[in-house]
Symmetry: C2
Subunit: 193 residues, 2 copies
DNA sequence: TTCTTTCTTGAATGTACGTTCAAGATATAA
DNA sequence: TTATATCTTGAACGTACATTCAAGAAAGAA
């Protein structure tokens, strides 16, 4: 007879930002209260506990990144040009030094412990979906003769995923735009030829 | 008039292992006490505080990885063969699913916050040294005509560092030896040619 | 042996956190 | 308007942690 007052998506985006900036452990309930405007009781009612917020935030992150991916690949350009712009955007994120623009999957993966296999599994599944979406695009590019067909699209996708993770991780210590662009170029070229 | 009873290096290796397995935040003083056999007082006397243990562990990690690096590159083989074995060893670490065999630099980088710029700086400096050591080896390989000279050794080294970070991060969710080997092969090839 | 310096011990302290829950507020239905 | 169901509030609770420190132990010097 009464609906919740808060916007679930907005709350999750706030939590996402905090988890990326400070990490899960160092994000306290007071932090979440301050960022979301929600009181502990409401948070616990909506997400059960702190871990529930993380899981919901990861799911929201997946949805958001998914939409972003689709946007990059829904133009009329050649697929390789779409990939180039997709990579450029990642390089921009890496070079921005904006900690909230990192990858929540990586951040949560590195923070998850042995006891928390579920989080690892959820993220692994999300990454697999992302990998598959990339592989599908490479397959399309091969059919359109934009790419040679001597290498499997799944392999190319794995290499791109690895490269993106490398870029993101490298930028943690060396957020130098010139270097990152050169690395992205070489990565792109070693996929193209 | 009395020497400390504990072996500093052993203590730091224990701490290193804990920090890699559980992360810094989730490693508690009771954990450290159990793993090192040292009581809080002794730990605080030797390292000032928990953060001091992390800094000392990072330094020990640097020393250990440095020795390992030198060992791989002190044979009489061609330098590219040394690189191949170096990479193979990293792939083995990644595929082993042994959380203690990860990279403490990455782990600590991803856990460090904005307020802890010193940790980030220390690690960035350590990574730069590692990068330079790799670049020097590539330079040697170029002089020995093992590598073409059309790309700067510093760039090749950056690409290798990025690739290794990519492999390590990728293996966090997909510790599949076959995939990792294929990725390492492509990485190695895109440096060679 | 005795003295003195240094290291070791582990209980105690203060703090900060995740979580709970009962009282209060508010929106819808009757 | 009144009743009722649901959401919101925030104080309170228990726990676990990093850190301290004074007492005890032990090694070397005299």
């Amino acid at each position: 007879m009464r609906n919740a007052e808060f916007d679930r998506v907005k709350v999750l985006r706030s939590a996402m930002t905090l988890f990326m900036e400070k990490g899960y452990s160092k994000t306290s309930m007071p932090d979440l209260k301050k960022a979301t405007g929600l009181h502990p009781g409401s948070i616990y009612c909506a997400f059960e506990n702190k871990r529930g917020i993380l899981l919901a935030a990861i799911e929201q992150y997946r949805v958001d990144r998914n939409e972003e991916f689709s946007a990059f690949f829904s133009t009329n350009e050649p697929i390789l040009d779409q990939f180039k712009k997709y990579l450029d955007n990642i390089v921009d994120e890496c070079a921005s030094c904006d900690t909230s623009k990192g990858c929540l999957f990586i951040k949560a993966l590195y923070e998850s412990t042995e006891e928390d296999q579920e989080i690892k599994m959820v993220i692994a599944e999300n990454i697999s979906q992302w990998h598959q979406a990339i592989a599908d695009k490479f397959k399309q590019a091969q059919k359109a003769k934009e790419l040679p067909e001597n290498r499997k699209s799944e392999h190319l996708a794995h290499f791109l995923v690895m490269g993106i993770y490398g870029l993101r991780t490298f930028s943690q210590s060396h957020p130098d735009k010139n270097i990152l662009e050169a690395l992205a170029d070489q990565l792109f070229n070693s996929i193209r030829y």
